[in-house]
């Protein structure tokens, strides 16, 4: 993974000094809260319901064991012994004191981490496929390009006071695990007719109050021009994005107002005009960055298979181990290796939370078995991308002992949920307790949730949609009705290659009604699905009607 040189380190250290000064100016009264707020947000510091919340950047979701251990130490020393992994592949601490934040930033800098631009109206942490560098179907590892974007966007002199926040996601696989169609800019690595690698550039996707699936701005951008093209898009947005209404200030609103063709003309004109030589990386710099992402050397048994290790498991463990292998691990591009997903969705737990002990357990496993690499996934789990197949039994046992081996990746209880009204100052309803109840309910269904196959349930506690409810196969939006929590259900959304915004199916339901509604939806699906058909595909084939009927008949009864 990328390592700081003296320049990267200096920038992070100078940013901490700057922030320490900003905190001192706030405490002395030189800065008002209105002035301090955007400054602290640009360094990831929120004020939530109960306390400050610090969002630490995990650039493109990649962590080393040492970094994860440092996060565990911060959780113990400055927080309450746990952290919360987010849909932007970052981690949040829910309880730091303002006066401690500069010291936390010092601890982060010691392991080459920071909290820059994890909030605010600037270019946020770039996200990517959690399987990057390990997936069999990728064109090339997208992370060197993510690192290039990280550096280009960090403290950008022109684009640090944008109309609104700006999120970029990158994937290099045919299978989109980074939700590139619902980002301000989505970059999908593709090859042109001559086999050269470049990017399909997608713009104007997003969730929030006004969800849009992004449009293709350019079918093929030669990869060496990535940064100058991004610069052109950002300049058009900085100048033309709306600033009169924060709810209409995202780039998706601008793209939609102008139309994709007119927007493309502006970007291409700008791109043609700007000085690319001062922005695009020369091949030496691209190679310098890429060298940090060289695939880890594998000296293990290339002939080991998961069938083999499963067959060798003791009889009393075999069924559970096989189930975990099937659901929580994925093929690696190197024979003899496997990608291991670490579920942060224990049945009844808070989605995405990990205790300091759990962080240390994963850090230890990655160090011992996993080339020192951990990834954070946008679905709020962790991932160890490089595990030798022969080590899977040991890894599984250790994860299980730490409460991290729930076999539910991409199943119904693998729920994305925002922090909701339990933590968030913007929320209108709670999310996590509902996720806990739904997970408990679906896991208890006859035959277990495995029989339901892939099913994405996503819960947001307000219209800002941090829980991605618009793109849940079953999406749930919390609303406040005269002081009571109600939940609006949408169906048929997807954040993957077949991205779609879910359809609202009827009036909002009270909490108890939501649990019964989920059961009713799953009953319809199980009764009417074709063999092997996913919930999403069954919904698309059958349409909303049978599901609506079940929902509201049930609610009326």
């Amino acid at each position: 993974m990328y390592r700081y040189d003296e320049f990267d380190e200096t920038i992070v250290r100078e940013r901490i000094d700057q922030f320490r000064g900003q905190v001192a100016r706030r405490l002395s009264g030189e800065l008002t809260e209105d002035q301090f707020k955007p400054l602290r947000l640009m360094n990831g510091l929120y004020l939530q319901l109960h306390a400050y919340m610090l969002r630490v950047a995990v650039p493109y979701g990649t962590l080393s064991s040492g970094q994860l251990n440092a996060l565990a130490d911060i959780a113990d020393r400055y927080d309450k012994g746990y952290g919360h992994f987010t849909t932007r592949q970052n981690i949040q601490f829910n309880w730091p004191a303002l006066v401690d934040v500069p010291a936390i930033l010092d601890d982060l800098a010691a392991v080459e981490m920071h909290a820059m631009q994890t909030s605010g109206n600037c270019i946020r942490n770039v996200t990517t496929d959690q399987y990057a560098g390990a997936a069999a179907d990728e064109i090339e590892d997208p992370r060197p390009w993510c690192e290039a974007i990280r550096q280009w966007s960090t403290l950008h002199p022109e684009f640090s006071f944008l109309p609104r926040k700006f999120k970029i996601a990158v994937t290099a696989s045919a299978t989109d695990r980074a939700a590139v169609r619902v980002h301000d800019i989505g970059l999908q690595m593709v090859r042109d007719a001559d086999g050269a690698a470049g990017f399909r550039v997608i713009v104007g996707g997003g969730l929030g109050r006004t969800p849009y699936i992004g449009d293709t701005l350019r079918d093929f951008l030669p990869k060496e021009h990535l940064l100058s093209y991004l610069e052109a898009i950002l300049r058009v947005y900085n100048e033309q994005g709306r600033r009169d209404n924060m709810y209409k200030a995202r780039i998706k609103i601008l793209v939609n107002a102008l139309g994709i063709d007119a927007f493309r003309n502006l970007v291409e004109e700008e791109w043609g005009r700007l000085d690319k030589h001062g922005v695009d990386l020369p091949t030496e710099e691209t190679a310098r960055i890429a060298a940090y992402f060289a695939p880890p050397v594998f000296n293990g048994d290339a002939g080991a298979t998961i069938e083999g290790v499963a067959a060798a498991a003791p009889p009393h463990e075999r069924a559970a181990f096989e189930r975990w292998l099937k659901i929580n691990t994925a093929p690696h591009k190197t024979p003899g290796r496997r990608i291991v997903n670490v579920s942060l969705k224990p049945i009844g737990g808070a989605p995405g939370d990990a205790t300091s002990g759990q962080m240390r357990a994963v850090a230890h496993l990655a160090h011992r078995y996993g080339a020192d690499e951990i990834r954070v996934t946008h679905e709020q789990n962790l991932c160890m991308p490089h595990i030798a197949v022969a080590d899977l039994p040991a890894v599984w046992r250790a994860l299980d002992a730490a409460g991290l081996a729930t076999a539910n990746i991409a199943l119904a209880s693998d729920i994305i949920a925002c922090p909701g009204l339990d933590y968030c100052a913007l929320a209108t309803a709670r999310s996590i307790p509902l996720a806990q109840q739904i997970a408990t309910r679906v896991a208890a269904r006859e035959g277990g949730e495995e029989t339901l196959g892939e099913l994405k349930i996503k819960i947001s506690g307000c219209v800002n949609a941090c829980g991605h409810h618009h793109v849940g196969n079953i999406g749930i939006l919390g609303v406040d009705k005269r002081g009571e929590e109600f939940y609006q259900i949408t169906l048929g959304g997807s954040a993957a290659d077949d991205a779609a915004i879910g359809e609202r199916v009827g009036p909002a339901l009270p909490t108890s009604g939501v649990l019964d509604a989920v059961d009713a939806l799953l009953d319809v699906y199980q009764a009417r699905r074709a063999p092997g058909e996913r919930f999403l595909d069954a919904y698309r084939r059958l349409g909303a009607e049978p599901f609506k009927e079940a929902l509201y008949d049930h609610a009326d009864a």
């Binding site: 100078e14 700057q18 002035q35 109206n121 280009w152 002199p157 022109e158 640090s160 922005v279």
Partner: protein, 161 residues
């Protein structure tokens, strides 16, 4: 209010500021030659992506951009265009709601002077030196830093090693 010049820290009293012409008035007059020493004032929402070919900014020695609230970042792109797209070589002065934490960003897109309250000069000068290294190129030599993008420094260091 006084005007602080960013590259040398010199200050100019408000009373010594030049006379001003708005872009709208200049346009209405057919982009003619301004009164000697006049400064051109650009509205914050003026689109500089393309202007009338007769608009020769270099007829002015000083251009003033306006920041209505510190959260509004349009002026940064305006200044960059003045420097890069139109080759404007004179003074670019920022007026309005500016936090001292923003001054170094401004210098890096080509701002050379900023209007500040008399008692804010020390803090602004200090913040204008917050960073010594930048990932991106700064607009030519107008800012406090004279370096190109970071990869040029890396290449130079690699060559020296």
């Amino acid at each position: 209010m006084i005007t602080l010049t960013l590259n040398d820290g010199a200050v100019r009293a408000g009373a010594d500021a030049p006379a001003e012409t708005t872009f709208a008035d200049w346009a209405a007059g057919g982009y003619g030659t301004p009164a000697h020493g006049a400064a051109l004032v650009l509205a914050n929402d003026l689109d500089l992506s393309s202007v009338d070919p007769r608009a020769n900014f270099s007829l002015f020695g000083e251009i003033i951009v306006h920041v209505p609230t510190f959260k509004d970042g349009r002026a940064y792109s305006q200044v960059r265009r003045l420097r890069e797209q139109y080759g404007f070589d004179g003074v670019v002065r920022v007026r309005g709601d500016v936090l001292r934490d923003q001054v170094q960003f401004m210098a890096r897109v080509g701002v050379t002077a900023v209007d500040v309250a008399d008692d804010a000069v020390g803090g602004v000068k200090e913040s204008a030196r917050d960073f010594s290294v930048f990932y991106q190129a700064s607009v030519r030599q107008y800012g406090a830093d004279r370096a190109g993008p970071i990869w040029r420094r890396r290449a130079a260091r690699a060559l020296a090693a």
